[in-house]
């Protein structure tokens, strides 16, 4: 999968959480028997704040946990929901696993690629949408389906896809 192209959503300003966010980091670290358990939630916060988890962000988060940046990098690269490069303002993830394939996931991917002018794994030139292929999202009753940012959408046909795309600014 090729890297999404840089977009209009770069990290804003220096890599640093606000005081309110730092309080939340400390709350999360105290919530678990071991504070390292808060790493995934804090990385999610970091991604939501800075747009993606760059190497700089990894170093910053590592400092907050007194962990080695290598450990944080190992974690970030393990999970599909952490983006290591900028993504579009919206992320559209099409399930291409078995149940969705049986009901036309390849047609969905092909249609989205045509409409957006990108291939799966890429971001539109205007930074609006990153299109991804993903493994089973466990909504096979709605196959073929996709995740648009936080929401599951399906079953999909061209009309549904058109309406979803119109709503993405």
């Amino acid at each position: 999968m090729s890297a999404p192209a840089p977009t209009t959503r770069p990290p804003a300003g220096p890599i640093r959480f606000s005081d309110v966010q730092l309080d939340e980091v400390r709350r999360l670290q105290a919530l678990y028997p071991e504070r390292q358990a808060a790493l995934l939630p804090v990385l999610r916060m970091a991604q939501d704040t800075f747009g993606y988890v760059s190497l700089e962000v990894e170093v910053y988060v590592a400092e907050l946990f007194e962990l080695s940046p290598a450990h944080v990098h190992e974690v970030v690269t393990f999970y599909t929901l952490f983006f290591q490069r900028p993504v579009g303002r919206h992320v559209v993830s099409v399930c291409h696993n078995l149940s969705c394939s049986l009901r036309g996931a390849e047609d969905v991917v092909a249609y989205l690629e045509e409409r957006l002018g990108v291939e799966a794994g890429e971001t539109t030139a205007d930074g609006r949408v990153t299109l991804l292929r993903v493994e089973c999202l466990c909504a096979c009753e709605a196959a073929p389906m996709m995740q648009v940012d936080d929401a599951y959408v399906g079953p999909l046909d061209r009309g549904t896809i058109d309406r979803v795309l119109e709503g993405l600014r």
Partner: protein, 435 residues
């Protein structure tokens, strides 16, 4: 059709709120459990023949029984809500449509094993289910059902909602624990089993969402009643996720003694008047059954005797237009992508089998390729830390052995003789098959 148990609130939106859930008798089983005491709860769950509904089918009471009676530190309950087995979506229904049933099951089970802190690990993609469930936990806390001195019993319990970040392997219980601890989700070598040394080094029970959601019903109506709903060796009903080429894909609750044929009929049968070709009976890791093999009961032992597994009860139906080599390629792509890479046999075999299915579909297969898939699959069995690879070989071997002719045809002719032309409704299943 049996009376709905696990799904009884699915079409009652009011049950998602605490007052609505209570109006249907909610949290009365927990109240009863507090009066019964831990040993009686465990005895009822044992009588109920409840077996884990996440995939492994392990008897729940036995799992609880592994917690050492004498210990110094805390015991943890970890709820596996990292639903990810392809073809499975029933835990999402519970999280979204009956969150308090899960909380009540967690409370009863935690009380039974002497646990005061539980963690629920919800897959990262499940945003709405996470929101609904988190709101339900907050409502339960506000009502004094979660927290200190619950209902004046002296029992204390808190629930920590934790979100995953996208990795199928975190549904494996020790991979989940690694992930919960803030690491990559690598499964751990067993022994020690989680019951002895689990989350944060403490004795831990990891139970699936649906398993725990069954517990309040068992306490409310008795273990014998629950056992009577199922087969001899597995009690209860369970939630079947039915998808693929059926008329009405969805979650269907049925006794574990239902046959696969009956279940497919309940989902409206094969769509578009086509004929059945094959069925995945228990999530993608279960061996494929052919159309002639669907008169099997869906309980753990029934499917095991049929050479496959009940797994997560994810039923994927394929009609006569399905090209099995293409379907295997899709499944092989999944296992290659999701292998965590820790054990060499799994990392290598999943990758190579995906490449072999790819070259078969690209018309570059060689005659020994189908045998190579089966041979490679078998060599890795039992040689890895977790059950991921042993699951992956279910499809590798069964797809090839049961539909060998289709693989040989692809190798010989470089083309498919099964999938109809696009004009006739034929659909490629992966980019390798777009041509």
């Amino acid at each position: 059709m049996t009376e709905p148990v696990l799904s009884r609130n699915f079409d009652r939106p009011e049950a998602r709120t605490l007052p609505g859930y209570r109006a249907g008798g909610g949290y009365e089983a927990f109240r009863k459990a507090l009066a019964l005491g831990p040993e009686t709860i465990a005895a009822e769950v044992k009588k109920a023949n409840l077996r884990g509904l996440g995939g492994a089918g392990f008897p729940t009471a036995t799992k609880w029984g592994f917690i050492p009676p004498k210990r110094t530190g805390p015991v943890y309950l970890v709820v596996n809500a990292d639903e990810g087995e392809p073809g499975t979506f029933k835990d999402r229904y519970i999280l979204e449509r009956d969150p308090h049933a899960l909380i009540e099951g967690m409370l009863i089970s935690a009380y039974a094993i002497g646990c005061h802190t539980s963690f629920i690990y919800i897959r990262g993609e499940y945003v709405e289910p996470w929101q609904v469930f988190s709101d339900a936990v907050q409502a339960a806390e506000a009502a004094g059902l979660v927290g200190a001195n619950i209902l004046g019993s002296g029992f204390e319990h808190r629930i920590i909602v934790h979100r995953g970040a996208g990795a199928y392997i975190c549904g494996e219980e020790t991979g989940l624990i690694s992930s919960l601890e803030g690491k990559k989700g690598w499964p751990k070598v067993k022994p020690p089993f989680p019951a002895i040394k689990g989350a944060f080094g403490q004795p831990t029970v990891v139970n699936n969402v649906e398993t725990l959601a069954a517990v309040p019903h068992i306490i409310a109506r008795g273990g014998e009643w629950f056992a009577g709903l199922g087969s001899k060796t597995q009690g209860g009903t369970r939630l079947y996720s039915v998808s693929g080429h059926v008329s009405r894909p969805g979650v269907y609750e049925a006794s574990v003694a239902i046959t696969l044929r009956e279940l497919i009929e309940r989902a409206g049968g094969v769509a578009n008047g086509r004929r059945l070709k094959a069925v995945v009976p228990g999530g993608s890791s279960a061996a494929l059954l052919t159309a002639d093999e669907i008169d099997v009961t869906m309980d753990v032992d029934g499917l095991r005797n049929a050479g496959t597994m009940a797994g997560s009860a994810g039923v994927v139906v394929m009609d006569e237009t399905t090209c099995i080599p293409e379907a295997l390629h899709v499944v092989a792509r999944f296992y290659a992508h999701e292998s965590c890479g820790q054990c060499t046999p799994c990392r290598e075999c999943t990758g190579w089998i995906y490449k072999i299915t790819g070259r078969i579909l690209a018309g570059k297969g060689v005659p020994q390729d189908p045998d190579t898939i089966v041979d490679v699959a078998r060599r890795g069995v039992g040689s890895t830390i977790c059950a991921f690879y042993d699951g992956a070989i279910g499809p590798y071997i069964s797809y090839v052995e049961k539909f060998r002719g289709e693989f040989d045809h692809h190798v010989r002719h470089g083309a498919c003789d099964v999938r109809p032309a696009p004009a006739a409704g034929g659909r490629p299943l992966s980019p390798a098959c777009r041509s």
